[in-house]
Symmetry: C4
Subunit: 506 residues, 4 copies
Amino acid sequence: MSSERISGKTVAQHNSRESCWIIVHGKVYDVTEFLDEHPGGSKIILKYAGKDATQEYDPIHPPDAITTNLPPEKHLGEVEPDTVEKVVVEITDEEKARQERMANRPSLEEVLNLHDFENISKQVMPEKAWAYYSSAADDEITNRENHAAFHRIWFRPRILRDVTRVDWTTSILGHRSSMPVYITATALGKLGHPDGEINLTRAAAKHGVIQMIPTLASCSFDEIVDAAQPGQVQFFQLYVNKDREITKKIVQHAEARGVKGLFITVDAPQLGRREKDMRMKFEAEDPSVVSASGSDGVDRSQGAARAISSFIDTALQWDDLKWFKSITKMPLILKGVQCWEDALEAYDSGLVAGLVLSNHGGRQLDFARSGIEVLVEVVAHLKEKRGLTFPNEKFQLFVDGGVRRATDVLKAVALGATAVGIGRPFLYAFSAYGSEGVERAIQLLNAEFEMNMRLLGARTLKEVVPEMVDASNLSTHIVAVPGDNLYNNNYESMIYAKLKESKAKL
Amino acid sequence: MSSERISGKTVAQHNSRESCWIIVHGKVYDVTEFLDEHPGGSKIILKYAGKDATQEYDPIHPPDAITTNLPPEKHLGEVEPDTVEKVVVEITDEEKARQERMANRPSLEEVLNLHDFENISKQVMPEKAWAYYSSAADDEITNRENHAAFHRIWFRPRILRDVTRVDWTTSILGHRSSMPVYITATALGKLGHPDGEINLTRAAAKHGVIQMIPTLASCSFDEIVDAAQPGQVQFFQLYVNKDREITKKIVQHAEARGVKGLFITVDAPQLGRREKDMRMKFEAEDPSVVSASGSDGVDRSQGAARAISSFIDTALQWDDLKWFKSITKMPLILKGVQCWEDALEAYDSGLVAGLVLSNHGGRQLDFARSGIEVLVEVVAHLKEKRGLTFPNEKFQLFVDGGVRRATDVLKAVALGATAVGIGRPFLYAFSAYGSEGVERAIQLLNAEFEMNMRLLGARTLKEVVPEMVDASNLSTHIVAVPGDNLYNNNYESMIYAKLKESKAKL
Amino acid sequence: MSSERISGKTVAQHNSRESCWIIVHGKVYDVTEFLDEHPGGSKIILKYAGKDATQEYDPIHPPDAITTNLPPEKHLGEVEPDTVEKVVVEITDEEKARQERMANRPSLEEVLNLHDFENISKQVMPEKAWAYYSSAADDEITNRENHAAFHRIWFRPRILRDVTRVDWTTSILGHRSSMPVYITATALGKLGHPDGEINLTRAAAKHGVIQMIPTLASCSFDEIVDAAQPGQVQFFQLYVNKDREITKKIVQHAEARGVKGLFITVDAPQLGRREKDMRMKFEAEDPSVVSASGSDGVDRSQGAARAISSFIDTALQWDDLKWFKSITKMPLILKGVQCWEDALEAYDSGLVAGLVLSNHGGRQLDFARSGIEVLVEVVAHLKEKRGLTFPNEKFQLFVDGGVRRATDVLKAVALGATAVGIGRPFLYAFSAYGSEGVERAIQLLNAEFEMNMRLLGARTLKEVVPEMVDASNLSTHIVAVPGDNLYNNNYESMIYAKLKESKAKL
Amino acid sequence: MSSERISGKTVAQHNSRESCWIIVHGKVYDVTEFLDEHPGGSKIILKYAGKDATQEYDPIHPPDAITTNLPPEKHLGEVEPDTVEKVVVEITDEEKARQERMANRPSLEEVLNLHDFENISKQVMPEKAWAYYSSAADDEITNRENHAAFHRIWFRPRILRDVTRVDWTTSILGHRSSMPVYITATALGKLGHPDGEINLTRAAAKHGVIQMIPTLASCSFDEIVDAAQPGQVQFFQLYVNKDREITKKIVQHAEARGVKGLFITVDAPQLGRREKDMRMKFEAEDPSVVSASGSDGVDRSQGAARAISSFIDTALQWDDLKWFKSITKMPLILKGVQCWEDALEAYDSGLVAGLVLSNHGGRQLDFARSGIEVLVEVVAHLKEKRGLTFPNEKFQLFVDGGVRRATDVLKAVALGATAVGIGRPFLYAFSAYGSEGVERAIQLLNAEFEMNMRLLGARTLKEVVPEMVDASNLSTHIVAVPGDNLYNNNYESMIYAKLKESKAKL
């Protein structure tokens, strides 16, 4: 980086596609060549071409995002402070309406379940954030199947047991958790709330829940660890970098900072195409870019997606696990296992402490099966082939995807899971209410756990046994015969007895 | 209770959250500390702070509700009659509209089935009552599954039998019933109609149907028993109180008053979270309370629900059945059994005369299976393990939940049930039409029974045998693969040949 | 009947509920006591109290309906012709609109399938007729299942066969039929069209299709037989009268007139409750009657339904078949068999020539299974127990209910049916277009048969074999788990790329 | 053909139904007798009666359509050029609106998947084209089932494999293909775009995809072959003509022009009734024709459909394959096989190189099963009976119908298909965007293939093995029990916590 001081006037001259400089935190960057790579589209950058973009930049990016993504020669130096014109952020009508909705959020007491958070945050968060968080792969079939799968599992509760005291605390990788739930890793938390992932850290601390820190957090790793309370347990989710030295540095830094488990993502050698999110990008793009790129045949929407994930190692293999074992003492967990064959291989390797049966929230391969469905298959085959029983202290199985109710969690526990990861619901909770939202979400789950444990007749999670569920239809993937519209539309539905007035009116 | 007489003026001074007195039936109560516990919300009480609340109180509460729920020191004494100002009950526009709809109910002749009652009462009962009656646990999946399950059972009727006379009378716990149906216990009948549960008693008397009296009736137990005709059979549903002396008193009083069967609820150690009902509460709450409680983190909506059910013994166990046997000669029936294992344990105990296979109308544990599904499993296992056949005089099986048609009842009978409990439909019938509504409901069922017995080729219930139904899909719990919206929305539905005019218009 | 001549003036004085006379075809009847029994409601009769009702009477009733239903003492005699005032039939706005729609029917060429007829006739026939024809039992589940069941059967067609000539003629009870379809019996044809069932007779004659004459036809039996061409084959559907002498007379008269098969209805000892039709009645009723009957507790809607079917013998039994055999040489067919046990009993009796596997178009017992489902069970069990194969010349199986396409028919044939009965679609065809509509319907079926036989690779019906269909899901009666509305409504459907304009607009 | 020159004035006199001449490419034709046979309806011809129709004719017909379809004596000769009045084509408002929508198409970059093309082309193509392309047989059940079937197959992906390089190229009948996809034959390409099938040829050339040329192309066979690049591989789809000399000429010409595979259609001895398309015809017909034909009972809509397909040999049989073998060295593939029995017969004949398991896009026999379902059955039986494994170089299996995503293709490959045919999506792509649309479609598929291969853990198509899919529900054809509308409509859906404002408003 140059150490030269640059005048605001000079910066102001580089205000076009051809030459585009911006100021962030008092430093000047040449982003001309980065315009088309910007995950958020070029339009938003061009709006600040030649200007101070800090105010727009901060809520969305980790502090080091720009220094990491731009080559050093594009770091032009510091700006002379008083020479920069203040940028007045214009607020669009849409944004005003959104802020008004934000001001009118229901009180937290009125939020009765995790669905409420999703609904409220859909209304109060920026469209872009909603598109990013809610989108999934292809036709988003797997995304919704994740939730639907739980509805094919039904309870067989027991009666006449003393359920005065019910206890749903558990131990995850040897660490106490107030419930069989952990906060799983989700990316770009500042899209939804300025405090980003730290909202989760704070709420997790208060309620004894374990948080998994994501590689792609908006807050920096250290910010998130710094926000933790003494003794608070955190895990780390890792996208493995092609450059193993970088990976090693990240992993050992995590261990040094006290992280208690390393969750290696194995279902995302390339990040998924999420069309709802891509669709949103076109709205945000400078139209001239779109038409330009249209004519040269280069698909920049692909390029952008690839840019974010280009560091991920597509060559990651079973053999690499030994290397991980050699660089860290943290337990290794594979996140994204989707069939019993891989579960068995992982177990037989003797290198991993557990698996997350997951399809990445439906964001990677559409028509991947739900984690809960895979759980049943893994438990059955590992019992048959290795005599294992689950939940298993030495080889723990986790499930994530589609969880909205404590009943969902208890179904997973009954079928052998140690705990369940919840992602989007907590994301929605803090997007609408900050860390208090996450706290409320945890409280609601606690209330549901207490009720449901009693109604199941289970005093502890040990008593939540396989016989308590009927999962025999779990693998039944039905699409009904397409409707006979002519027949069905001819059918005239029956009607109720009508009130006299309405009868008169009709 | 103080015996002192209090002036209306004094009462009138206690008209705020800080000090709130009300008058009910000429007595003064200090309800300040009860405000936040009130199941109906604090707002409605504060409206009568310092005033006579009798007119508002009466239609909803059992006469002894206030004396039971308030500690004696809050019973301040009698008011001086002439010193109290008359309360003019203001009628809201919504209430006026509701009363108008009530005046425009269809004639009872136009009510052709039990669905009609539900539809009409939804329109004519107070919103609060509808929310309380219709709500169920979590996402109300089990609530609706209860009805859906019957639709997975199909008939195999027989022909060419002399069905001139068909007889669907039966015997329940040794008592004659005009149909294989009893009126099951449902709470708070006065929410729907000023006469509450007595509507049921009257109609039951006329038509030879057995009524089960609920613990949480709006009318007092004795009022309901007093309303019965000589020889009329009544059962009693019991929530077991932690204080066994109270339980004993209640049970022995019931027996002394002639109750013929004790149905002990075993599926509700804690009353369920019913969000539709909780949602309604926020409308009824004083907003200042909500925000206040929001800030101190106390969840009063939980508190209220807990208040009602706090007396229920969460420690009730199998061993307690012997104690019940020791304090009463009434036959004991467990209400809320949900798997064959518990059914077997109940049978083997030798202490119970029958079971109600029920999930509490879907109001307790969501994803509990329907009673009718559990019936098939219980019948199969008790046959296999103990050689029992059903219907069985000595160990009777009942089912409740989701019944709307005589066909539903006959399916249960074919599969081994002695009789079926119907709750909400009767509740809706009297909410809209008083006891005449209940009578009409019974008549409609009778008309359906006559028709369906003939069409099945069954002269008596004994001839309604398992071979008459195909229940092979009963346990199939399917959720279809989530829809491919892009594909489906592209599909253009076929159209019919159009009338010439409409063709011109389009 | 009195032979006295009555003056129009005298008749005109009996113009009220208390005394109600009407004139039909120049004869005077006292219908005072019949008012409440009238299937069409009392209101419509009272409109003609004291007047000439012929014009209204004719299109709906068989000529002898009034003489059959009124006791002789109510037949008061002939009216003096010139003393009667002409009745001017007022046409309501609804009726005018309906007639306009009738005038605007699409041309017959535009009618491309049987669904079209249903849709058009729904728009152009009187509401009352639509309600009567389309209604079915209880919640009309079986009614719709009849059609749905065919959609669970899929084809396995064969290729590379010479299908230049395809032949779908067949033989039904030894009589040639141009297709494996007959026109099954449906009641009250004049509700839809003034020529009633004769529309069917005429079209059947032209196209070599067999018509089954219903007991409850609007045209008299002889009118229908008279309308037939020489050599035209007709069957007769019989509701057995309690008075066996009447039954005998009817049966022997049918045989004498040349009827070739007697289809004895065995699924209707009592006619079903059809609420859509009952609902319509209340619209047609004199409101004063409704309230009057409401107060005395008598359910006239029941009474009316019962009145029509009161002659049917509820005691009809297997033994009676011998008696039928003794009074007629016509082959006997049982119409309404619904399980293999009864099919076997019928076969073993040696008295019957065939069975119609039917649930009466869904109008009797709701949750009765479809005929096509019963067919598979009957074929399997009669093969296993008696070594029969189907189609079988000596013991023919028919199916009716839900047929709309030639593919439906071919599925039934592949599974063992000799032919299939079609009812409502022909009724709708003539209601909208008279006999030409029925002809068009038959032509459409022929066009579909030709196409489908070729595409199946079947030159004759003999080549339509069981291996050509996959019916393995036929008995799967699924009701999906009730929807998770909170989850589903949160899901935001994906969208397409938008046209630029519409993008601008949104 | 006469060689006489005709004056424009003479032509202009033949401007009515009675005598209708038109000019196309400077030649005069008497089309009077052809009016009612015209697949596009008579109305459009009559508009040009006595005039030059070239401008209207060109975009829809292959150049030789008129000479082929009219008998030589109707070719009247050449017109004197200067005597013809220019026809001013009037543009309707609908057409103007359509052209405006065309101008407003989204940019190709915004098109993110094949669904988008269908949606856009539905909006921008002429209604007639949409009706023809999108329509299918009867109730279009099979048409939609083709897509739905893929949704009953789920993935079992593998992890921790080096997927840096993934390769989805393959070999089809010995020819390299850049993906396991070919462009299958679809008729009348000029309905959607003036360049018709040549759009496909051009895009196929650029991207190494194989095109199957249809018999019923809008462009002539030679035009399509001429448009190919040197070395570009093309197949030919053949409807076998009754006149074997014509067939021979066509086949040998195709071989001579370098076509690499002959796909003989075996599922269409007669072309299907497609009602959506027929319905559209009535809009296009001269109303006087409709009423005329209505009265004489001739069904011209049938006649037109039959006219197109009348040349197809309905007598084509297995034995004919030897004859084909004798006239060409091109590999023979049967297109339209629908059960394992025929697949076995084809294999045992030793004459065919492969099969397309297809139901003609749902356009022939409704309730034919999807190709993907048939694939599983064929693979299983050919393995069991002949020990074959698939994909099989010597006997290749193809599937078409319902494909929209690379995941669909990979499912077929996993189950044994060599490649998959895609038809309508490419048709929609060029209808909206010409050959660039097709290119974009191929690029999108490539992007999906790359992503999905990585996520499946498959480096080459050989690694896409049967164990990677769960197809156990593929043959489950479910139609749910018809809904209980009265019950369901009574159910009141749960609601979310409301924003304060909206609460106030409601």
